[in-house]
């Protein structure tokens, strides 16, 4: 039986870890990390086949955080899942830490580097092809940002995944609608992203990305669907900066570092479970 409340608590813990690590580093991206907290929680604490004792286990499920700047929430999940010490989170972006500004496989549990946007989905296609060719049954998950899909390479990868019927590849669009300099609509209106991916040959699921229950239900449905002959894309509707009232929906919190006062307020909200 899945303990939904425990997963909700973990998502909140990942938010606390994210804000704290960025605050201590005085550098990092909070907004898009907070919007992804529930999804990453479900992946690392419910769904993915992993072994923290053997991070490079060949049969493990893979996860690519293609929106690599959201690394703090991934690092929090990996540390809380036992891939490395929780204390390491306090050394985010520091010269003697393996926790780089964007993910890198030198960090135990990280499957692929990211940072330059638009490349992760292609790498996920490569991993999914490798599974098919070597007859392995692991799944590949790739989370993208909604600003990131303005990169043309995403659509090159989308074509390839559909061509090769990669039903072992699950894309996740963290649809928080805000990017570095403003909203998606202000910078580059993408129209109906569901229809775009659908027209490229993907099966589309649209969910509330802050609902643990919906995420679990959708992922279980996809991975148990034996008739699926195409890649799946979950449009995960989220709020940038989710969980900290003054950060929610604000482009300014894409890459800003909280002041001491803001940090204290954020901690109070997160630890008080107000949101």
């Amino acid at each position: 039986m899945v303990d939904i409340n425990k997963l909700k608590e973990m998502a909140n813990q990942l938010r606390i870890d994210t804000v704290e690590s960025v605050y201590l580093a005085k550098s990092g991206h909070i907004g898009g990390a907070l919007s992804a907290a529930e999804f990453i929680t479900v992946l690392y604490f419910y769904k993915m086949r992993l072994n923290p004792e053997d991070p490079n286990w060949p049969d493990r499920d893979r996860f690519i955080l293609s929106k690599g700047h959201s690394a703090p929430v991934l690092y929090a999940a990996l540390a809380r899942r036992g891939f490395f010490s929780i204390d390491e989170l306090k050394r985010l972006r520091q010269v003697d830490s393996h926790l780089q500004g964007a993910p890198n496989p030198k960090t135990p549990g990280v499957d692929m580097s990211a940072g330059p946007l638009g490349q992760g989905l292609s790498a996920a296609v490569g991993m999914a092809l490798a599974a098919k060719t070597s007859k392995k049954d692991y799944k590949v998950y790739c989370m993208m940002g909604d600003g990131e899909i303005q990169e043309g390479q995403i659509w090159e990868a989308a074509m390839t995944a559909a061509k090769y019927k990669l039903n072992n590849l699950i894309g996740i669009l963290d649809h928080n609608k805000v990017q570095m300099s403003g909203t998606n609509d202000e910078l580059m209106p993408m129209g109906d992203v569901s229809e775009k991916f659908r027209s490229f040959g993907w099966k589309i699921y649209k969910i509330d990305g802050h609902s643990i229950e919906e995420i679990i239900k959708t992922l279980d449905e996809i991975t148990s669907d034996d008739s699926l002959e195409q890649p799946a894309m979950i449009i995960s509707e989220t709020v940038k900066g989710k969980g900290v009232s003054f950060m929610e929906g604000k482009a300014a919190w894409h890459g800003a570092v909280p002041s001491e006062e803001q940090y204290n307020q954020a901690m109070e909200e997160l630890k008080g479970g107000k949101i």
Binding site: P58, P116, Q119, L129, A157
Partner: protein, 308 residues
């Protein structure tokens, strides 16, 4: 006579029979790289991306992260420039076992014109950490280096041209990463060349020898790492080095030799190549004549340097 790119495609197909980790990620270059047999023999290991080089390179990174040995090949302008971000940030940064191939390198690409002539690829690739850079001169060498880089873990960039190449080596010749071949001995000047320019350098050296001008010719097929010992010996023994490459004179083979000699064994290094300009459309021979990639021009330059 076959082109190096044909020898490459044949070798990948041949190796795949005994190495099931070898995979090809293609971007509509199946005939250009002579991948036809591989695609026919190993369809489950041949992935066609269409005209999407960036996607091709990142897919290769994903495959490599799962233990495969991917080959990614296209025109050198595209693997080294269109997909540079992907080569740097996904392949080299992670030190993945991806073999990146640039065919149709240099102005020998000819008729397609400057947009398709890679004259910066050696300089670009050489500047990226982790990757090694090879520029074979002949089909036998291409085949052997393809095998060696497949057996050697890590990212490689191999560049070669479009047209058929005269063979300068026999089947028993040995090559290695960081090696070179001294094809002619001489003490008045050393020519360090790579790719097709090696053939021209040998022809020039043979003609010069008839006039008692003794020129050493080094085939510097491994540009990074480079055979520094052989360069140092040449600098000390001949005191004059002429580098020749089908590439811009900035940052390529001549750049690599100059950087090394300036620090370790100062001697005069003169660089022959494309003189920091874009070339034009034309046949290989017409372009080589126009930009000075000829036996006659090498002879003239050597005489000028030796007598000067």
């Amino acid at each position: 006579m076959i082109a190096n790119r044909v020898a490459f495609g044949n070798t990948v197909n041949e190796m795949a029979a005994t190495n099931d980790k070898i995979v090809v990620v293609d971007s509509d270059c199946i005939n250009v790289l002579n991948y036809g047999n591989f695609a026919k023999n190993y369809p489950e290991r041949f992935y066609e991306c269409g005209i999407a080089e960036q996607n091709m390179v990142s897919i290769a990174a994903g495959l490599a992260s799962c233990g495969m040995i991917p080959f990614v090949a296209s025109f050198a302008v595209f693997t080294s420039m269109r997909a540079l971000d992907q080569v740097r940030n996904m392949v080299c940064y992670n030190n993945y076992n991806v073999k990146v191939i640039g065919t149709h390198a240099g102005i020998e690409t000819g008729f397609d014109g400057a947009t398709h002539q890679a004259i910066e690829d050696i300089a670009i690739m050489r500047a990226i950490p982790n990757i090694r850079v090879l520029a074979p001169s002949t089909p036998i060498m291409t085949s052997k280096l393809t095998k060696i880089m497949t057996e050697t873990y890590g990212p490689f960039y191999m560049r070669f041209g479009r047209e058929p190449n005269r063979e300068l080596y026999d089947e028993n010749e040995e090559f290695y990463i960081g090696g070179s071949k001294t094809l002619r001995e001489g003490n008045q000047l050393t020519i360090v060349a790579c790719g097709r320019m090696v053939d021209l350098a040998v022809q020039a050296a043979d003609e010069l020898a008839q006039e008692q001008i003794n020129v050493r010719v080094i085939d510097m097929y491994s540009i990074k790492p480079m055979d520094e010992e052989t360069i140092m010996k040449a600098a000390k023994e001949t005191g004059l080095i002429l580098t020749i490459e089908d590439h811009n004179v900035i940052g390529g083979l001549g750049g690599a030799v100059s950087e090394f000699t300036a620090e370790k064994c100062p001697c005069k290094v003169v660089k022959m190549g494309l003189n920091d300009e874009f070339a034009r459309s034309g046949s290989m021979n017409d372009l080589f004549n126009k930009y000075g990639f000829t036996k006659e021009n090498i002879i003239r330059k050597v005489k000028e340097l030796v007598n000067g």
